[in-house]
């Protein structure tokens, strides 16, 4: 009797100790992913809660990043062939289709030329591009972006409104249900509420020099234009589908999307671009992230008629909205948001 009591007490002390040191570790930095993680049930908001590139985050190579600080089991998501042949499996497959070809399978809610997997590679499986299986077990969570606790369905709705420049699909409709089923299925074996090994995009170190538009343009022409086009407009494949997605302009993500933040884009680019050979230096990733995000894109859906006011309310972060580039205020000439067919 007293022996098991001792074990319980010892166990609790151990858990509390680990939690305490973890929390201390995580709150060590400035206002970033880690801090929010420690103070709330779960972090992550599309709008730049990424560990990536917060101004004062230490170098990625030495510092414990969220991807290495904890030790959830590093399993693989189940193989595609394992989707069961039943009604649940049908819903999972529908979720996979929506994720991979959003314009076709959720056309009423997608307002640009992107698909979810353009940013979350391999149908949301790739560890370095905010994998779905790591997201699913971390909701409900507080999001600084809308300042309340979001469940997973609401998180998905946000993706449609911002990254997809579209409209929120109804929570109980097929689109959200299918994407939830797909995420749930991918997350098999992931511990609920425990910070996973891979979450968001990997950390990118601060650049040695402040990001520069001019250098970014050079990086862009040498490393990105081949696929994304001279004007970031993307390229169609021979069968007329979207081959390489647009980086700015009316077909891309809008001024409210997480990717418009220079730090978030720098982290994504460092980890994943150029496709198949991501070999930019940290400095180059930051420079080109600044460059692509210094062009017009669809308006912030929270726009209230004034770029300045919208900027003051919603853009106190590393973004270019409301800034003047080439004599033009970004946001003033933005194509409309939420343009679903």
């Amino acid at each position: 009797m007293s022996r098991s009591l001792a074990i319980v007490i010892a166990g609790s002390v151990l858990v509390a100790g680990v939690a305490w040191s973890l929390a201390t570790l995580l709150t060590g930095g400035t206002e970033d992913y880690r801090e929010r993680f420690a103070s709330e049930s779960a972090p992550a908001s599309e709008a730049g809660s990424s560990a990536a590139g917060q101004p004062s985050s230490p170098s990625s190579s030495q510092a414990p990043s969220p991807q290495t600080a904890t030790a959830a089991p590093s399993t693989e998501p189940p193989p595609r062939s394992a989707i069961p042949d039943n009604q649940f499996g049908d819903l999972v497959r529908q979720g996979e289709r929506i994720f991979n070809d959003t314009g076709q399978y959720a056309d009423a809610y997608a307002g640009n030329d992107l698909s979810c997997q353009n940013c979350h590679f391999d149908g949301g499986r790739y560890n370095k591009t905010a994998p779905l299986r790591s997201a699913w077990p971390m909701y409900p969570a507080y999001r600084g972006k809308n300042q309340h606790v979001n469940d997973y369905a609401e998180r998905l709705q946000g993706c449609f409104i911002y990254s997809m420049n579209g409209k929120a699909p109804p929570r109980d409709g097929e689109v959200i249900q299918a994407l939830q089923a797909y995420s749930f299925w991918l997350a098999k074996g992931m511990p609920t509420g425990e910070e996973p090994e891979y979450r968001g995009f990997p950390n990118v170190a601060e650049p040695p020099e402040p990001p520069s538009f001019g250098r970014g343009e050079t990086v862009f022409q040498a490393n990105c234009a081949l696929c994304h086009g001279e004007n970031g407009q993307g390229q169609k494949a021979a069968d007329d589908s979207m081959g390489f997605p647009p980086l700015w302009g009316e077909g891309s993500y809008n001024w409210g999307a997480g990717m418009h933040r220079v730090n978030t884009a720098a982290a994504f680019i460092k980890a994943a671009m150029p496709l198949g050979k991501p070999d930019l230096t940290d400095q180059q990733a930051w420079d080109v992230a600044l460059f692509i995000n210094s062009h017009e894109r669809p308006q912030d859906p929270r726009f209230n008629g004034s770029v300045q006011e919208t900027g003051e309310r919603f853009h106190q972060h590393q973004g270019q909205y409301g800034k003047t580039v080439d004599g033009r205020v970004l946001g003033e000439n933005a194509p409309p948001s939420g343009t679903v067919p």
Binding site: E76, R80, F121, D122, G123, R125, Y126, K128, N223, L226, C227, Q235, K236, A237, A238, D239, D240, S241, G243, F244, P274, L275, G276, K277, P278
Partner: protein, 208 residues
């Protein structure tokens, strides 16, 4: 003196090229010497690759590379070396504007299995993208720089992948393709080459 027969032959060939193509895409004279191996409409013969529909920039780059010897090939080297800059450009423009006919190429039953998996999904656990991300859905190509690979002879495709690995072919724009090929092993090469060889080189509904 030798010029006369050539002119006569060319005069005879022009109308036939028009008859088949029925577009303003005039075959440059030099294209005649390609027919024996690459087919009258650039659709390929036997184990020789088809040329129709290859992107213009890609095509020109290959002729330059054959001529310089960077892309090692005993047959194409003398042919490419004998072409002037203008002729290469004209040939690239001509063949890139030709379309593969549906049912052309080496189409057959597409094998399932590892080749298909690599082609459609890549191997992202090892940071390897899917082939179709750069070569387009169905392997039909994207723009001027990412060549269609569907319906090319399996042996040809496999040789190219090997050539990158042995340094007999330049890595291509930004070194992208060379970097991909380096990460494939012999089984991958075989499986993925067979997969793309079996796909139709053109879509049924020709939306040219």
């Amino acid at each position: 003196m030798a010029r006369l027969p050539v002119i006569v032959v060319l005069c005879l060939l022009f109308p036939s090229a028009y008859a088949q193509q029925n577009t303003a895409n005039t075959a440059p004279p030099a294209a005649q010497s390609c027919v024996a191996c690459h087919g009258a409409q650039g659709q390929g013969t036997g184990s020789y690759p088809h040329l129709a529909g290859l992107g213009e920039a890609y095509f020109k780059r290959q002729l330059d590379a054959f001529a310089s010897g960077e892309r090692v090939n005993a047959i194409m080297k003398p042919i490419a070396s004998g072409l002037s800059e203008e002729q290469r450009q004209a040939l690239a423009g001509y063949f890139s504007a030709l379309a593969m006919q549906p049912g052309g190429g080496q189409a057959g039953e597409a094998p399932t299995g590892p080749g298909r998996e690599l082609a459609l999904h890549g191997r992202w656990q090892q940071d390897l993208p899917a082939c179709v991300q750069c070569h387009g859905p169905g392997g039909l190509g994207i723009g001027a720089d990412f060549p269609p690979i569907a319906g090319q002879p399996a042996g040809y495709l496999r040789n190219q992948l090997k050539a990158w690995r042995s340094g007999d072919r330049p890595a291509g724009p930004q070194g992208l393709m060379g970097h991909i090929a380096e990460q494939l092993d012999a089984d991958d090469l075989k499986a993925v080459a067979e997969y793309f060889a079996s796909l139709p080189a053109a879509k049924e509904a020709n939306n040219e």
